[in-house]
Symmetry: C2
Subunit: 208 residues, 2 copies
């Protein structure tokens, strides 16, 4: 891949400005109050530019999420144990859940915005696909959630092949999208979440 020519300098500058503006607005206001128009205004560009760059509200949020999740993705695939390869599955899963809880805790608004974007924009009329190239994100090009889910799923399956690892991983990770849990995170209690996730993971992995 990686076809086509380089990105123009002004375009890159604007992309950055939009991302940073979204970040700041998301930190200051509730996600549904962060409209694309407000983002554009805060970034000092026209609304059309935002859509040109990111395609849709969903696209913007995903791009921001990828950026945030990049380091974790790297650590998981290439980093040192216990997050990276090498440690036993249960330790890797625990470490991973800790890291995810902490990451989500530091980015409370974004997860909610992603959820909001997912339900709000019932796919743009034309199924355009932007933001596929030049993507920061997990090492491969897959969306953040799928990467996380795949990882957790594999770790569970490795230790307990008798269980429904895919679904269990969804349940574990799904809690991060639940409103009450998000509210908790907003009050800075991500350590409490991590502890409970560890309890659940331990319960699952404790074998027959």
């Amino acid at each position: 891949m990686a076809e086509g020519r380089r990105e123009r300098a002004d375009a890159a500058r604007n992309r950055e400005a939009i991302l940073r503006a979204t970040e700041e607005l998301l930190a200051r206001y509730r996600p549904e109050q962060v409209s694309m128009e407000r983002v554009a205004a805060a970034a000092g560009v026209g609304k059309g530019t935002v859509f040109h760059r990111f395609g849709s509200r969903m696209g913007l949020m995903v791009a921001l999420m990828r950026e945030r999740a990049y380091a974790l993705g790297e650590a998981v695939t290439n980093g040192p144990p216990p997050l990276g390869p090498g440690a036993p599955p249960e330790e890797r899963l625990m470490a991973f859940l800790d890291a995810v809880a902490e990451l989500v805790g530091r980015n409370k608004g974004l997860l909610a915005a992603l959820g909001h974007a997912a339900t709000t924009s019932s796919k743009s009329p034309s199924g355009k696909e932007r933001e596929d190239d030049h993507a920061e994100g997990p090492p491969d090009g897959r969306p953040v959630y799928q990467f996380w889910h795949g990882h957790a799923s594999e770790l569970i399956a490795e230790r307990r092949p008798d269980l429904d690892a895919e679904l269990l991983a969804h349940i574990l990770l799904g809690s991060l999208q639940s409103e009450p849990v998000l509210r908790l995170l907003e009050r800075g209690e991500s350590a409490r979440l991590a502890a409970s996730l560890r309890v659940m993971a331990a319960g699952i992995l404790a074998g027959p």
Copy 2:
């Protein structure tokens, strides 16, 4: 409570028509495509009537949810074991999770719509509160989710007072709001969900 006079006949008829229309639309279309205007048209009433009766989109969805959850609420508080009082906590929790998974499975669209309503309507400008009286729902007047959470939470705490029962209950129940899990339910795999919820619950309740 229960003050004021009785509900007028035409009002009751319309309330019923609106509820049934919402039900049908939710079964046939994705939640974000079920607009209040469409509901009104399908029910054969004006849009204003829908808002007069239910206050907001959220109010409508909550009313529908209450109606659906009424039987479960009854069974849990007054019914026979293992769902009702009498059985040991772990059995009650298992039975409850089974029942919830099945209920949610039969009402896929509604949960998603509730989530959508929660993020979409950032509370109506005037904080009106309708639908507080004449509410079917769990025996008390509390919203469905709070009732469910309270119940699961108590059962966990009863068996494992050393754990963070509140949070664990949120995580368990929160999975029902997660998109991937909802998609699974849409494909009729509620038994699979129930099984995995049992695994998690067992994992939590086992031990010291």
